[in-house]
């Protein structure tokens, strides 16, 4: 073989060898381990930290809220869907509580073509009159459960049974002092619900619990019907607390359930007009402190100060309950 050809072959082999060595040198360890890629990149990708921590992570501290949420029909909406990703919480600070619930809730609940009929949807303009959703709906248990149950009872039987109640709630359902509520003209559905709650122990009171326990379901219906049939009276309060004018502004937040002047729109919710101010203060504080349990009330009273509560009570106490009693009388 001619010398120059041999040299050329040697040259080609040498450059090939250099290329091979270069490839061997520059190819990282794990390349080709499973295929034409770097196997070590898989654990690298898998090692990234999860940003969304799931509801179980939230549960460890917010167990009470978690229990309420996980029993509600909002349980498919995870904590982090509304409050944002939990990565870095609680070390790096609080997660936001959405301020504009209209904007947030309508993402899912605005009536829109294309949304399946099973999704609860609202006409935003007509639904709340611009009020925030959380005024009526507790985001953690949004369904307003106290649907009006029509209560029919025997008024005469109720009157007999009510003799035992008269010493506190008054002979005609108008309480003689400021701490006990008036019952006259209250909606029957609400009265029946509350009495049943005392009976079952869902709601507790030193005086009411032992009195309600012996009541039969029939007794409860009769009592509710009797008190609902009485006509209410606004009795000027003996103790002067709060400022009714300031209370009026605050009461706008209550209006969608309890009405503008404390005449509830739905019989499941109590009328507040003409109610005793002292009683209203106690009840609101009980809701705030968690002694009385109601998801919706708990949510709306959370932000109220003692002064706010006094003002609200003063406002409702001086409203007239009369105008609608006529229409309320029908059982």
């Amino acid at each position: 073989m001619p010398k120059h050809i041999v040299r050329l072959i040697i040259l080609l082999v040498a450059s090939g060898a250099i290329a091979l060595i270069a490839k061997w040198f520059f190819t990282v360890e794990s390349f080709y381990e499973y295929g034409h890629y770097r196997a070590n990149s898989v654990p690298e990708i898998a090692a990234q930290e999860a940003v969304y921590k799931t509801a179980r992570y939230c549960q460890s501290c917010h167990s009470e809220r978690h229990a309420q949420w996980s029993a509600s029909n909002h349980k498919s909406v995870t904590c982090e869907t509304c409050h944002g990703a939990a990565q870095g919480h609680p070390e790096k600070g609080k997660l936001p509580i959405p301020a504009d619930t209209v904007k947030l809730c309508t993402l899912c609940h605005e009536a829109m073509p294309g949304r399946p009929g099973t999704q609860p949807q609202i006409q935003v303009a007509q639904h709340s009159g611009g009020q925030q959703c959380k005024v009526c709906h507790n985001p953690h248990a949004p369904k307003i459960a106290a649907a009006a149950v029509k209560v029919t009872g025997d008024v005469a039987a109720g009157r007999q049974r009510a003799a035992a109640c008269a010493s506190c709630h008054g002979a005609e359902g108008i309480s003689p002092n400021d701490t006990w509520p008036n019952l006259a003209g209250q909606s029957a559905a609400y009265l029946a619900r509350i009495l049943a709650a005392y009976k079952s122990g869902d709601q507790k009171d030193v005086v009411m619990t032992p009195l309600a326990q012996p009541l039969s379901d029939g007794d409860i219906r009769n009592l509710a019907a009797y008190y609902a049939s009485l006509s209410c009276r606004t009795v000027p309060s003996t103790t002067r607390i709060g400022n009714a004018a300031t209370g009026r502004a605050l009461a706008k937040n209550c209006a969608s359930c309890h009405g503008d002047t404390g005449i509830a729109s739905n019989p499941a919710w109590p009328h507040l007009a003409g109610q005793k101010a002292g009683y209203l203060v106690n009840v609101l504080k009980a809701f705030r402190g968690g002694l009385r349990k109601d998801p919706m009330m708990a949510a709306v009273v959370r932000g109220l100060s003692d002064a706010d509560i006094d003002n609200l009570a003063a406002y409702y106490a001086e409203q007239s309950c009369q105008p609608v009693t006529e229409s309320r009388k029908t059982p």
Binding site: L20, V42, P43, I45, A46, A50, T54, L107, C108
Partner: protein, 282 residues
Amino acid sequence: MKREAIASLLARRTFLRKIGRAATCAGAIVAAGALGVTKKVAAKSESSSSRGSFPTKDYDWTKHRWGFGVDATKCIGCLRCVEACKRENNVPADAHHFNTWVERYVYLEGEAKARIDSQADPQNIAASGSETEYRFDNRYQDAKVEKAFFVPKLCNQCEHPPCVQVCPTGATYKAKDGVVLIDSKYCIGCQYCVQACPYGARYFNVRTGTTQKCYWCYHRITKGLQPACVEACPVGARIFGDRNDPQSPISLFIRNNRVQVLRPETGNAPNVFYVGIDKEVL
């Protein structure tokens, strides 16, 4: 003149001799190199067998075969999945880059073709108020709508992914559990894969200089969590699970529904299964 020619010849001869020596040395190195390579191969086969479970000690990718389902009859177009995905995967916070997105198909009365928009539509951006928040506007509320539905989209993690086929550096590949991953350290940003994907699932991230796409939240599923979009979906329109487990949500979803995939004619064999879409959806 002649002397100069002789001198140049001599110089050439010395040069060639040097080359010759270099070639001999190279030959020796080749031999050494070959030995080294065989050693290295041996070492590699050792390491993979000694590893136990891969890629993490709690997760063996040979034991899973992930699948994804989309039930368009349930989707309400709330876009919580898109928001969750953006946060989870560090997707650029603008209206042009998405690992997952949602399309709205609306057929108006008397119109043969669907009107299609997504959260990246200018009107929808205006409705949300910013490019980093997502919502569908209610533009069809007063229109006569014959049919309308929302379709979530994401990477199909194809059985035969064209993006992997075209990658020149081995930066994208199909993992043993079925997810197509991107090795961002090896991605050179040539964007050939972006062109190759028939679903538009890939995009180029200018900030990192690499391609990005949905990877079914590989860092979550290998830890036993659900992908962020599945976790966030309030109506169960997104279904995820292991197809090796006959009782997993995705196995039940595929078994109990007449599912379809997008663009089956491409032969990519997608692994995202749809219910409730029609022929307009590609």
